[in-house]
Symmetry: C2
Subunit: 179 residues, 2 copies
């Protein structure tokens, strides 16, 4: 089946420009402004990339969506969670399946370093921040078990891929196949 892999913030030209503003350390945004910028990028991404793909029958796999704003800005940075929930509703699009990769933040950080990935503004925040984000994701997933699947990402890459394939097959009643 046709599949599109995309990511947030970004995934459309205007949204990528906002990604640069959000992930660079040049600008320190107020909590509400930062939330609204993420949703502006998301609205652009949905309008230009996701909605047209879905309308064409393409499966869309997106690296992060509104749960990340709730976890990072809401639980992590203390932005107004009711406001984030309201904005999530205004987007007019709900994922059919959300996969949450759960991992000890220290292991996640070690993997970034091993892969020589330069940490962005969020990744540079402290351990307490990342613990709040991880706890937030668990709360979000527990509140919508029919949409969210939590996967233990401390396992090997092959094992994680198998868990993801199983979750997709299960959610969409597809025949299971090896990744």
């Amino acid at each position: 089946m046709p599949t599109l892999a995309t990511r947030e913030p970004g995934g459309a030209p205007g949204a990528e420009r906002l990604r640069a503003l959000l992930l660079s350390a040049e600008q320190d945004w107020s909590p509400s402004a930062e939330v609204l910028l993420h949703f502006a990028a998301r609205a652009e991404h949905v309008a230009r990339t996701i909605a047209p793909a879905l309308a064409a029958g393409t499966w869309v796999v997106c690296d992060r969506f509104y749960d990340s704003t709730m976890a990072y800005q809401g639980y992590g940075q203390g932005a107004d969670r009711a406001m984030i929930a309201t904005l999530s509703g205004l987007i007019g699009l709900r994922p059919d399946l959300t996969i949450v990769f759960d991992i000890d933040p220290a292991i996640g950080r070690a993997r970034l370093l091993a892969r020589d990935i330069v940490a962005d503004r969020y990744e540079r925040l402290d351990a307490a921040f990342h613990a709040r984000v991880a706890a937030g994701f668990r709360v979000i997933a527990a509140a919508e078990p029919e949409r969210c699947v939590v996967i233990d990402a401390s396992a090997s890459e092959q094992d994680v891929a198998r868990q993801v394939a199983d979750a997709i097959a299960d959610r969409f009643a597809l025949p299971t196949e090896a990744p």
Copy 2:
């Protein structure tokens, strides 16, 4: 009394960066993204500039606020007006007095030209757009007569200034003085 004159989009460093994105013709935003960008700039402006000034007892005079998003994006560009109203509520700040300068768009445009002001992305839109914006401002003002005062801006600069001074004196029960 201490007074701060500021403007939107802009009025704080991050908000001015968003102003550049919004008013340049480089990027064509989807309607929802454009609305959310205006509110992101506004949230930053409120958090960094307006709220601290009000807390210090300063009167804030702002050139445009959320009514302009409703008029330009909602009435002018057809963005979701219920969404704009929701976002306006989330800002958590309501002007004590809003002055709407009503003028035939053709006269407004002639004045811009006479002052050698380079038209921004909105000012370059067509006459039908500006007619919808002007009609939108009239609807907004009529819906909240206790907050909004409509002033005939086709009069002379001196006459318009006098009307503004009268509206402020009236709203805040101040002694009237010549501008």
